[in-house]
Symmetry: C2
Subunit: 498 residues, 2 copies
């Protein structure tokens, strides 16, 4: 047992050290000289090979097996870790090795082709690749089915342990029943505000100055974090004392950098506020994708798109862009950042219509896995659903089925967590209001009190508990989608004066 | 044989991948959040452990052994590589393992103590550490002595293969005989020029603009290089397509950023111009410390401190600092950047007195290794020699024996390569002049022609040949110190109108 623990920790130390390499490479690649790509690509492939070798070594696996058998004698954190590791090793064993290797090799080389096809809107060329992926995933789900996980459940449970079709059906059922008709009503209205705000140019220097301001508001300490730039914003961390986010600055869009930087800082605060006690364990980081997304969307939407936040922090923005915003009022800005629109692109969707984009993907993924949908059928269904739910007609696959990278990378079951994150966030918000006066906290100018609540009720656990446990501990109840739906309906009823 | 080659290459691939981690960490540490140090320190220790494990694995060593035995059937590059690796493995075997491990452990923890003692000028506290290092090195040289390498030779040969006391004695003998009295004459003179240049403030923005200008002059392509900032300037590379240098900008010193950035770009060009054929071998990078230093000092001194370069590129500097330099002429600037001064600190020394700083270290190192000098005696000798050769009296050990980090890290035999690099550079310059009109090339505005010569005669070989071979191929003769001495005497005779 002691030997097993030693082997387990030693291997984790090595995986963790290689993790530093991934972390640094990811960050560095946002500014590395262009000609460096080829050589580092080879080196990173070797690092991945090492990572795979260590994490599947017989000694490591047998150490996990030994510890799993005596899990009752382990402390709570380690027991959770070992149970998860044991389950994922057991899972991997059910898949024929050659099939797995072949599939990984397929995925590894698809990214450049995907980007090319997306840019050209060329579905036909990518179609056979989609079909290969779909077929593999159908077999994968068959291999891993259990008494409780059937078909698509296998994938859903991977991204959000404990969430299966049964729960998601209730969740998306409510969205479909209540939000779809509500959104249809909203989209018939037109907000009246000074639209000049979206037609002006905002120099990057000023945008950066406002990010520096927001960083203080958010409590995103300079000695533990870095804010960089990249094409697509992201958050990455190497433990809780080195958390980095990136922003993309568009000169002609005012909202983009504000909400994407707050979104990423939301993710970042989660990483930063994990308990120091979990430092040398494998239980740092967030509890799940949806849980992580709940923290970014909480900050981005519930907090930063609120009336209170806008009234508190728009003046600083107006000071920076005094010329550009001279005729724009707080109310104009509030309407601008919250206006709902039927659109094609998920990542650009507003807070209200966003869940419909996810609903569409959930329904299609399920059909692909459980009803043998081909890529071509999936594309048809995609376009049909965008018309049914959002009233828009996809003209180019670049704005349709090719818009997200996920499926081309074999990520299925991931999308639903995006909507679930917002729903968790609404439930946390409700619970937080029982403890503190959230609006007053927002108006205080800094989000410390709110951030503290998140730390005490969510962040400190890292990934040492399942999302459902954290949800129960933090809110006192099981997941309940109604908070989210009520929140959206209330907010947009007011905004649109329905 | 085929199996051995495979094992050899596979292991190199892994060492090279871990090398990426060192490279990225080194770069990242120049701007990483301060709180990140502890966690990444642990991770890097694990990476080093892995590196050590791979590079001393029995399979790797036996592959090298096999390849060494059949080295006659290998191509030239691989034969050179294997011979070097074989020699270093054989060497390591001669040192009792416990002694080696104990010494490495000692060195690993000395850096913070060294910095503290240096800052306080506290010799007494560091003295016993120096003595431990000196004693180990004396034993080390005993273990590794051969028929041709005696005492200090062992260390000299490690940093510059082929250079031993015999050659260095000739080299430093000439410096002592010819330069020491010449410098004494120079130091009695005083250059007359507008000294206001060294009393003004030069905003960092302007300094950066001039570095951007110099980058074009040097041909330091943006798509393969990066210029950052750090406390101590350095060059690092991850192959020839990712070469990075750093600069430190001092607002009140005009020369520092110019010559340190050109110095580092000189190192960088070496890395960039290694033949692409050596890409996947262990023979990239420079041939030796002195050879690398020859390329940085060639650019820094022979080229950038020349009259031709000053006349060509001072106008651009004056344009940037038009206010600060309005009363400073080209001649003032040329005198300012070349003025010789007796000083305590090696790294701040001018081109002329620099070799005396190195001479002093060479003579003391030799006494330490071969005549059992203690740390206290070494310090006395240090102060005595600074007075004898440069006429200055060391008052604080911070400006004396504690000034360089090298000895505290066990680096002995390294210093001589600094002076040797300048001497190589002078010999290369002489050879280059036979092929091209160097002054005309400098005055053309860009250094392409000069850089091409360095590539064709030096850089392209990477580390696939010994320095002495490269010197012979490039200049047609063996190392000859006279080029260096003649160069210095000619340049400073003219400048000081002796």
């Amino acid at each position: 047992m002691e030997q097993a623990l030693k082997t387990y920790q030693k291997t984790n130390e090595r995986l963790n050290a290689l993790g530093l390499c991934y972390f640094l490479e990811g960050w560095d690649s946002t500014f590395a000289p262009t000609a460096s790509i080829l050589a580092r690509g080879k080196q990173m492939a070797t690092i991945s090979e090492l990572y795979y070798e260590f994490s599947t070594s017989p000694e490591y696996e047998s150490a996990i097996q030994t510890l799993y058998e005596r899990r009752d004698s382990l402390d709570e954190v380690l027991r959770h870790e070992i149970t998860e590791k044991y389950k994922s090793i057991a899972k991997l064993k059910k898949i024929p090795k050659e099939e797995y290797v072949e599939y990984q090799a397929l995925l590894a080389q698809l990214y450049p082709l995907y980007v090319e096809c997306k840019n050209k809107g060329d579905f036909d060329t990518f179609e056979p690749k989609f079909d290969q992926i779909f077929e593999y995933l159908r077999r994968y789900c068959k291999y891993l089915e259990t008494d409780t996980l059937k078909g698509y459940d296998v994938l859903l449970d991977e991204f959000e342990p404990g969430m299966t079709k049964k729960q998601y059906d209730v969740f998306f059922g409510q969205i479909k029943e209540k939000l779809v008709p509500f959104i249809a009503r909203v989209l018939k209205q037109k907000l009246s505000y000074n639209r000049a705000v979206s037609k002006r140019t905002y120099p990057v220097e000023g945008q950066k100055a406002y990010v520096a301001y927001l960083r203080k508001v958010m409590g995103f300490d300079e000695d533990r974090t870095t804010i960089g730039e990249s094409e697509h914003p992201f958050t990455n961390s190497n433990g809780r004392n080195d958390v980095r986010i990136t922003v993309h600055y568009y000169e002609n869009v005012l909202s983009s950098f504000i909400f994407s930087s707050i979104h990423e800082m939301g993710h970042g605060l989660y990483e930063m506020q994990v308990s120091p006690e979990l430092d040398d364990t494998q239980s740092g980081g967030g509890a799940s994708c949806a849980m992580h997304e709940s923290q970014s969307r909480f900050m981005e939407n519930m907090i930063a798109r609120s009336k209170a936040f806008t009234e508190t922090h728009f003046p600083a923005l107006k000071e920076i862009f005094s010329e550009e915003l001279k005729d724009v009022t707080v109310d104009d800005f509030y309407a601008y950042i919250n206006e709902a629109q039927a659109s094609f692109i998920r990542t650009e969707a507003d807070e209200l219509t966003y869940p419909l984009h996810v609903l569409i993907r959930y329904e299609i993924e399920r059909e692909i896995i459980e009803n043998g949908l081909t890529a071509r059928q999936a594309r048809e269904l995609w376009n049909q659903k965008y018309f049914d739910y959002l009233g828009v007609r996809v003209e180019n696959d670049r704005d349709g089925i090719l818009q997200d990278v996920h499926w081309s990378q074999g990520s299925f079951g991931y999308f639903p967590t995006y909507a679930l994150g917002s729903a968790y966030a609404a439930q946390f918000y409700h619970a937080m209001e029982r403890d503190i006066d959230v609006e007053r906290a927002i108006r205080s100018g800094c989000l410390k009190e709110i951030s503290e609540w998140n730390k005490e009720h969510i962040h400190k656990y890292g990934s040492s508990k399942y999302p459902e446990e954290i949800l129960r501990l933090a809110t006192g109840e099981d997941f309940n989608v109604n908070y989210y739906i009520d929140y959206l309906i209330e907010k947009f009823t007011k905004l649109y004066r329905l």
